[in-house]
Point group: C2
Chain length 167, copies 2
DNA sequence: GAGGGATTGTTATACCATAACAGTCAGCCA
DNA sequence: TGGCTGACTGTTATGGTATAACAATCCCTC
């Protein structure tokens, strides 16, 4: 009998279609609210990023779109789409890996999220980090340093991979 | 009359030679203790990195060494030297910028340091972050996530730059 | 119907990092 | 001695990440 694992990392077996659909809807609204639009290109890129709970590289996206769409985009087109998605908060950048992952949790502009990235299965999750970020803010203030962006990334092994789930 | 600024960012006017000398000495010992050696190449690379309190790119180092030394190194030589210096804890990597900065503070293997990086003057400083890292560890544990490496980088504006020090 | 912002295309280039293999040197020990 | 090993660097080639600069289109508004 499979053991229940308490984790923010979703079961790989879960039905992911609703995750994607919800994310696309949310993106649609956010872009509209900002006087922008979730264009076909941006939608396609977001679909690729949101297609899994892992971080993907810009050139991976490029490659996958080329497989599906026929024509081959220029790298900068993908980067521009990613920029807009990052600005909209729909996609985050995993700095330690130069990669991107979709935000599935709707933390609504609050960027005080701790990022957990599994080095075994590449899954990425976010957990709220209010008090942690408060501590960081205090440490920065004590050094008269004014933060504009704070980055907390934890590289490690997720519960499922620790449990030795076969690849 | 200049105002005193409480900060871990040293005054750009300070005599930096002792900083470098101390760092080189420390490196010498660490390498020796590990059965390795601070070779001329590694020493040169460390000197370039430690030559300022800012983060520098690997190719910047390459370029500066080429200016000084005559011969031009292959990129991988610089990367190998940097790898050894990072492993020794003498140099840290600024993940958010794909750059490297020297460790001037001797935190002796304790990697629970908060990195503050000024986006105006490029200066980098480290401050101890024990409680912050404890909080991050707790959050990870609550998600059955086992950290192997934790990254806390704050991008912002240092006290001096806030005070409008002319460039 | 002129202006301006958003969006994408096109081309070229810059920047960051590693693979694979060879050669040198010093220390160790049968 | 002579062979082994590990540390270190060189050489060549390649792979991966990101942006500059300029043009064209579309839509909305004044
Ligand atoms: Zn998010
Ligand atoms: Zn995993
Ligand atoms: Zn340090
Ligand atoms: Zn500054």
């Amino acid at each position: 009998m499979p053991q229940r694992v308490e984790t923010v990392f979703p079961d790989p077996q879960h039905d992911h279609a609703p995750c994607v659909a919800e994310t696309l809807e949310r993106a649609e609204k956010i872009f509209k609210n900002n006087g922008l639009s979730l264009t076909p290109l941006r939608r396609q890129v977001l679909q690729e990023v949101a297609g899994s709970h892992t971080a993907v590289g810009a050139y991976d996206i490029l490659e996958r779109l080329a497989q599906k769409g026929g024509r081959r985009l220029a790298p900068i087109s993908v980067y521009r789409a990613l920029d807009s998605l990052v600005a909209a908060g729909m996609v985050h950048r995993l700095e330690s890996r130069n990669a991107f992952f979709a935000c599935h949790v709707s933390h609504a502009g609050d960027r005080r999220q701790i990022v957990l990235a599994c080095e075994t299965c590449s899954a990425v999750a976010e957990v709220p980090g209010g008090s942690v970020f408060d501590g960081i803010g205090a440490a920065a203030a004590a050094s008269t340093f004014k933060p504009t962006r704070t980055l907390v990334e934890v590289i490690g092994v997720c519960g499922r991979c620790q449990a030795g789930v076969p690849v």
